[in-house]
């Protein structure tokens, strides 16, 4: 089993039974996610920016406008922390103290660099689109040279990562289980809604079959995990 070797930076100290460092645990949580929260430092000030991301092997990628301040700084090479979180439920215990949250999260650490090679940039952005919306790209108006220039792609090889999961009922003090207090989990999921056609959609353009998978009520984390396997 491939594992990320934790140092002080990534070792799960508190409630360490929730932590793991193997690639499978880390990649499963990452691949179920669309949005990461990117932590980086400019002039000593921390910033956290929500950003769509994708993964290939041990490398995370994200992209955006070539004029983005975050991306311009990260293109120079910065230490970053990329955190992906899935909120899975509210944990209702018999005391306030033992109320908790069910979640899956990964903190991944590494240094950023810019992908500057045009072919590689195109390949990565195509991969990302395929990974989120399989089979959509061939139906679209192709990318122009100007759009390629206006896009910046950042890569971060994962140097260290830890996964942290809580997925269980409340854990109460032993004597509190005798109390007649309702306890349990209120699950939370992120789900798709009903597709909203663009008001400027040409008349008669049907919903393409590649969007069938985005059916209302479908969990986004499962969609993302499935698509990661399709794209891989």
């Amino acid at each position: 089993m491939n594992v990320f070797t934790p140092t002080k930076r990534s070792r799960v100290k508190r409630l360490h039974e929730r932590g793991s460092y193997d690639e499978k645990s880390v990649f499963e949580i990452l691949d179920a996610g669309l949005i990461a929260h990117m932590g980086y430092v400019i002039d000593g000030q921390p910033y956290v920016t929500p950003t769509a991301f994708w993964r290939r092997g041990r490398t995370l990628y994200w992209h955006g406008s070539a004029k983005s301040r975050m991306l311009m700084e990260q293109a120079k090479g910065l230490p970053v922390c990329v955190t992906v979180t899935h909120l899975d439920g509210l944990v209702l215990a018999r005391s306030g103290f033992h109320h908790s949250i069910n979640y899956r999260s990964v903190m991944a650490f590494g240094h950023t660099s810019e992908i500057t090679d045009s072919a590689e940039k195109i390949a990565e952005m195509d991969y990302f689109l395929e990974r989120v919306l399989p089979k959509r790209n061939p139906s679209l108006r192709p990318m122009t040279d100007q759009e390629l220039k206006a896009s910046k792609v950042i890569a971060m090889e994962i140097a260290e990562a830890s996964a942290k999961i809580r997925a269980k009922p409340p854990v109460d003090d032993e004597e509190d289980y005798a109390l007649p207090i309702w306890a349990g989990v209120a699950p939370v999921t992120q789900v798709m809604g009903v597709l909203e056609p663009d008001p400027r959609l040409l008349p008669g353009v049907p919903v393409p079959s590649h969007l069938d998978r985005l059916r209302p009520g479908k969990r986004l984390d499962l969609l993302m995990a499935e698509a990661a396997k399709v794209g891989a």
Copy 2:
């Protein structure tokens, strides 16, 4: 209208039409959230930790184990960035380039401090529980002195904050609207599921009426926003 005065740190540079700095916009997005991503720096390394939080006035609070490394560092006083993000939809355009995300997010900046006064700690933690699960606290086993000592509460007065929102159909290049490509928004929401009773729940304990509001399919962001008004 009360506004946060942006500096270079919080000014929305890219797509600045998406940004705003007034308290109403900032507080609405914060109050619809349960989890924030906390950015902080230890020895030059950025960390991003998902954490439940609450707000009173211009101050954000979060809490956890007194032994948490993050909280021990923040208790000393650190510059932090607290980011709250709601993912609202995938925006499907007629070109890959114009694909986007609908979202609401806030980045709030400030310095941390610890709440050390016991009465204030209790009041804040009670407020938090009331704010997430109104009317639940009186039904619970009360907090013990030991639990109070084992808890650390961190506060951050918002020095600067910006809200950023995208909530609209795709914006395509004018000539691309003539293409017979399906475009629109695939909405995403975070919703409650069916309550899962603790396997160790005493027989005959009913679901209390204060949990009626957590009905399956209810949006968590709306629940949180409603409860913020109840608690305020």
